[in-house]
């Protein structure tokens, strides 16, 4: 192939995009606290350090819980919205859709501050609790503003689980436009008579949805789950504003930057995250391609 200026441009562009990311593993395995060349020796010590940092584990777990909740919530809502928009006509459809898509262009700081204001306004009324008793167990569901589920008998708490509700809702707001955009594409590709054919052949509406529509939009659903998961996992601003004393992973990382000695550990963590993201994307793309092949659609370009 001829070396054209365009190829050169593309090469520079790729370097610009990926060179910083390559630095990450470089220093994660570097035996020295100072981030500078020349590299010194090879070490796995920073990764070992990761394993010995309980605060990090908590932040990671917190982030994973949030990201999973957001992925499921946003994808469900996106599913409803995308189906409604592609299948039905109703007044103000364009306007409503526009409002849902707005967070896509709204500065995130604005969203974060607004949510914080709402939280402040609600705070005096919190916690809201409801509970009931089954035998000797008392089950309490409360919004503190975290969503807390607590099961206790008279002596001690048997089970307790908290969902950081404010961040989850904030991230859902942020992810919904992506979810809708992805799923709308899936639904638009569906021939409406497929559903009618299923009804015609004796299925109920629910059956037609489950047997025909759902399998055909599954690649879209997986893609949406994945994108929402990743957006939520590395979102910083909303999480920063709305996390109480339980930071998410990005917020924890940001906190660690104040200690220069911890920088290589952060690099090690970053390396793991990058590897994980790439693996996840590859898996998602394999699923997407398999879905496409199954329905006989042609390749339309994917993540990879």
């Amino acid at each position: 192939m001829k070396r054209s200026p365009l190829a050169l441009f593309a090469g520079l562009y790729l370097i610009f995009l990926y060179a910083p990311i390559i630095l990450l593993p470089l220093f994660a395995f570097n035996d020295g606290t100072i981030i500078a060349f020349p590299l010194r020796g090879f070490t796995l010590g920073w990764f070992a350090d990761l394993a010995n940092t309980p605060a990090l584990h908590e932040a990671t777990l917190n982030s994973l819980i949030i990201a999973c909740s957001v992925a499921v919530l946003a994808t469900c809502l996106g599913l409803f919205a995308a189906r409604a928009v592609t299948r039905y006509k109703f007044p103000l459809k364009g306007g409503i859709l526009g409002f849902i898509m707005l967070p896509l262009v709204l500065p995130e700081v604005i969203v974060a501050i607004s949510l914080l204001v709402v939280l402040m306004l609600l705070l005096p009324d919190l916690p809201i609790e409801t509970g009931f008793q089954i035998g000797e167990y008392v089950i309490v569901l409360s919004v503190t503003p975290d969503l807390v589920l607590e099961v206790s008998n008279f002596h001690r708490t048997v089970f307790s689980f908290a969902l950081p509700l404010p961040i989850i809702l904030g991230h859902t707001l942020l992810c919904l436009p992506f979810s809708i955009a992805i799923l709308q594409g899936s639904f638009q590709g569906l021939d409406q008579s497929l559903e009618e054919a299923a009804l015609d052949l004796g299925e109920t509406r629910a059956g037609a949805f489950r047997l025909v529509i759902l399998p055909l939009v599954t690649p879209g659903i997986i893609a949406s789950l994945l994108i929402c998961f990743i957006i939520s996992l590395d979102e910083f601003i909303i999480a920063f504003f709305l996390s109480g004393n339980e930071p998410t992973l990005p917020v924890y990382l940001w906190g660690q930057l104040r200690f220069p000695a911890r920088l290589p550990v952060v690099m090690a963590l970053g390396t793991i995250l990058v590897t994980l993201s790439i693996v996840l994307l590859i898996v998602a793309d394999i699923f997407r391609r398999r879905g496409l092949r199954r329905t006989g659609q042609s390749e339309t370009g994917g993540f990879l």
Binding site: S193, E196, A197, D200, L201, G202, E203, R294, Q297
Partner: protein, 359 residues
């Protein structure tokens, strides 16, 4: 055969918002009949078919299947099945799974289901393709899968929305014959939507011609062709020459063709006196070649246009003393040369082929 018709449509109206899509459809379809809905694009054929299937609610009137009012009965509870224009083959399922889809809720055993699927595929000539992924089928094969899928449920009525329009001409003609055979074999009532008049004429026992949400004429193919009820029907189905005429009783004088006494079935329903229109199909007129014996009714004419079709030739001729032309189709035969534009000739006709329309 039972005395109640299988499908009864009683003054069916359908509005889409302010748009009046069906305007008082009344018709009955007998059991075992091959019935066609024929009309130009947008006349409401699909709407009517979907109303019978249960996909569209009608605004007023009633549709009865087997004597039972279908108002409020969803598609999955009607004794009808549909072959969609796009075929609506489920792309994520195999051919067998597609065909067997309707059996999911039946009480048949797995073995019986497999056999039924095999039979249905055999019936449409796809016995060897059961395991194929549905998205890897040609247009004609899809059409057959859609047919097998609908017929496996042994519906009372099979509804077909332009099932052949996506096929090429040769394939379409083959499938027309096959569909007719299949219909006779299974004895199921077929309701076919088409905008192709030839297809309707070839396949149907009876045809309803629709314009703008109304049935303009409902008759068997021969009556429809030979005795169209209105000029519009005549024009939609095949070609017809229209001539200005005057009538008094059954005695009609068409411009250039003299006076003729016509039979009752050639006249319109209401009484006509004064100005009217006479219609004549191109094949009922003939060009008399040199030396051919003269006919009872003939006139000299000039050929204005010649269109050669291989088996047929279409001539546009102008009778002497007239300023409009008439179209005449002649079968090309040995010893009968195609005439040239400008040639002088004689044209013969038979008043028994005339149809009179009120103006």
């Amino acid at each position: 055969m039972s005395s109640t018709p299988l499908i009864q449509m009683q003054d069916v109206h359908k509005y889409y918002g302010a748009y009046h899509a069906l305007r008082g459809i009344t018709a009955e379809i007998a059991e075992g009949e091959f019935f066609s809905l024929l009309g130009p694009s947008g006349c409401g054929k699909t709407t009517l078919l979907r109303a019978i299937a249960g996909f569209e609610e009608i605004s007023s009137g009633a549709i009865l299947l087997n004597g039972a009012d279908m108002a409020g009965v969803p598609p999955n509870r009607r004794p009808t099945n549909m072959v969609f224009q796009s075929y609506a083959i489920f792309p994520h399922l195999s051919v067998e799974q597609n065909v067997g889809f309707g059996l999911r809720r039946s009480a048949l055993s797995v073995g019986e289901k497999t056999r039924a699927i095999g039979e249905a595929l055999e019936m449409v000539g796809l016995g060897h393709l059961g395991g194929r992924a549905a998205h890897a089928l040609s247009g004609g094969q899809r059409q057959r899968v859609a047919l097998a899928r609908a017929l496996i449920l042994k519906p009372k009525v099979l509804l077909l929305d332009e099932p052949l329009s996506a096929l090429d001409r040769k394939m379409r003609e083959d499938m027309q014959v096959e569909l007719m055979k299949l219909q006779r074999e299974v004895g199921i009532t077929f309701v076919l939507v088409t905008h192709d008049q030839e297809e309707a004429l070839v396949m149907s026992d009876r045809i309803a011609v629709m314009f703008e949400g109304e049935i303009a004429q409902l008759a068997d193919p021969e009556v429809l062709y030979r005795r169209p009820a209105t000029k519009r029907v005549a024009d939609f189905i095949g070609v017809m020459n229209f001539l200005p005429a005057t009538a008094s009783g059954r005695s009609v004088e068409a411009a250039g063709l003299g006076v003729a006494d016509l039979a009752a079935d050639q006249m319109p329903a209401g009484p006509v006196t004064g100005a009217c229109t006479v219609g004549l199909r191109p094949e009922t007129l003939s060009i008399l070649h040199d030396g051919e014996a003269s006919k009872a009714r003939e006139a000299s004419a000039q050929i204005e246009e010649v269109v050669y079709y291989g088996d047929m030739t279409y001539y546009d001729v102008r009778l002497d003393g007239m300023d409009t032309t008439m179209r005449i189709s002649m079968r090309n035969m040995v010893g009968r040369d195609v005439l040239d534009v400008g040639a002088r000739t004689r044209v013969a006709w038979d008043p028994r082929a005339m149809v009179v329309f009120p103006d």
